[in-house]
Amino acid sequence: MHIADGVLPLSVSLAGYALTATGVGYSLRRLDSADLPKIAVVTSSFFVASLIHLPLGPTSVHLLLPGIVGALLGPAALLSIAIGLFLQSLLFQFGGLTALGANSLMMGVPALLAGFVFQRIRGRTRTSNALAGAVVSGGGVLLAGLLLATLLATAGEDFWGVAKLALAAHVPVMLIEGCVGGCTIAFLFRVKPEMLAARSFSGVGKKR
């Protein structure tokens, strides 16, 4: 769930923008310029993946994917997520333009953490990779939900009820995404394990 315009206090929106801009600027400088077009292309596949809805009882949920983006892109995850969210706002109005900074942080921070944790705990076997994938995917959603609730709570005491409800709504998504993320990582480990290597992105462009 992305925050719409007009919910957050102006100071929080601006602080979100400032932090996101710092993070994105850092990524842009640190990454090889040849990698940038490639990250853009991969970002569109994450965008499309996040549009896939899975049935959940009578309703359906869509995946948030911060864990997988973090595991696959590592330090470039924040950049990828900021671009994806800008386009989501532009095309669908999912998330407000003035809340873009806060929304990027809400998804980007879990993604960066997920990438870091995934490399630490993935181990060498398929099972351990799948478990690590499930943990960071589910954990990423949970952290995103916590950040969302925190951001909503900054808007005042009136919003605490909504914040709690939003956090509760993330729990089923967390379970679903944990399972899907574990399966995705297991699949990638079997089919193309080099994609999961640390700082995998610079490795993709190299000739094998």
Partner: protein, 313 residues
């Protein structure tokens, strides 16, 4: 907080109906859109297909906004958006919404697209409209509204006003997105962003990502079709999750493998780290006049919001 300070105000049936209509407009809009989508897709869809709308389909039109140089247009409308978001009072937020409606009218954009935006935005606003009036904490001096037929659920006046204010502000900025981004080709818009100081490497990434969205959406649709042909019926079960996980993995592998080919194709067409700029946009006096008018309106709203004495909302 003593309960004696809380007033209870019973609405007449017509007042209650108007209030409920205000609160329920966004959810109804959302439902109407879902319903229309279901009707237009003909059959009962197994999984909802989220087609991606093009942002610059109306770029060839002619209006005040089409002739406005993108850099100045985006800059001033962004400032206006932030000024709108900073409003506190419901009344002035509603005035802002009226201005946004006027703006969309002036930009001569078909109403379908802004309506689609409003429906998408309603998702979160519904949460506020339905929850805030019931959960916002009672402070001394608050008023409880009792709607006829719903005596068991008194609504908090603070929550009602707050949720309506948020919805107005969100709708205003959502409507402004259309004149801001739909009245020029995306490449020109992004060039405007670069003029405003965004790194050009970033604007190029956005452009490229936008281009490949449609490619991967086709890819995902094809994979979904293939899965359906092989008897995949999504449901709330582990098999669905496993299959989806594998399908996503395949999508990511294809996209990673594609990056190299895309990059080589770009290099062979003369890409040297930058897309050739089409032309330098000139900033005319008219652009600055439009910027001045729009920012003045935004500032005026904010000043009135903070200074004018409005009765509680």
């Amino acid at each position: 907080m003593t309960p004696t300070l809380i007033q209870t105000f019973t609405l007449t049936p017509s007042q209650g109906a108007i209030l409920l209509l205000c609160l329920l407009t966004p959810p109804l809009l959302l439902l109407a859109f879902r319903w229309k989508r279901k009707l237009s897709s003909g059959q009962r869809e197994i999984s909802p297909d989220w087609s991606i709308p093009t942002i610059d389909a109306q770029a060839q039109g002619s209006s005040l906004f089409h002739t406005w140089t993108p850099a100045v247009k985006i800059g001033s409308l962004l400032i206006v958006s932030f000024l709108i978001v900073a409003l506190h009072a419901l009344f002035w937020s509603a005035v802002g919404l009226a201005f946004a409606l006027l703006t969309v009218h002036l930009a001569r954009i078909p109403w379908q697209r802004p309506l689609r935006r409003l429906a998408a935005m309603s998702g979160l606003c519904v949460l506020f409209l339905l929850i805030l009036p019931l959960t916002s904490p009672l402070r001394s001096g608050d008023t409880l509204l009792v709607v006829p037929l719903l005596e068991g659920m008194p609504l908090r006046l603070t929550g009602v006003i707050l949720s309506l204010t948020i919805t107005c502000k969100a709708a205003t900025v959502a409507l402004l997105m259309e004149p801001m981004f739909a009245t020029a080709e995306l490449a020109r818009t992004l060039q405007g962003f670069a003029t405003l100081g965004l790194p050009s490497s970033l604007t190029q990434m956005i452009l490229l990502c936008h281009r490949y969205l449609f490619v991967f959406q086709q890819e995902a649709a094809r994979m979904q079709r293939a899965m359906r042909v092989r008897g995949f019926v999504p449901g709330t079960n582990l098999a669905t999750l496993r299959t989806t996980g594998n399908a996503l993995g395949m999508l990511f592998i294809r996209s990673f493998e594609r990056t190299e080919r895309v990059y080589e194709a770009m290099l062979s067409r003369g890409y040297r780290g930058a897309f050739p700029a089409t032309s330098r946009e000139k900033i005319a006096a008219g652009d600055l006049a439009k910027a001045a008018v729009s920012i003045m309106i935004g500032l005026l709203l904010l000043v009135l919001d903070r200074l004018a004495p409005t009765p509680r909302f």
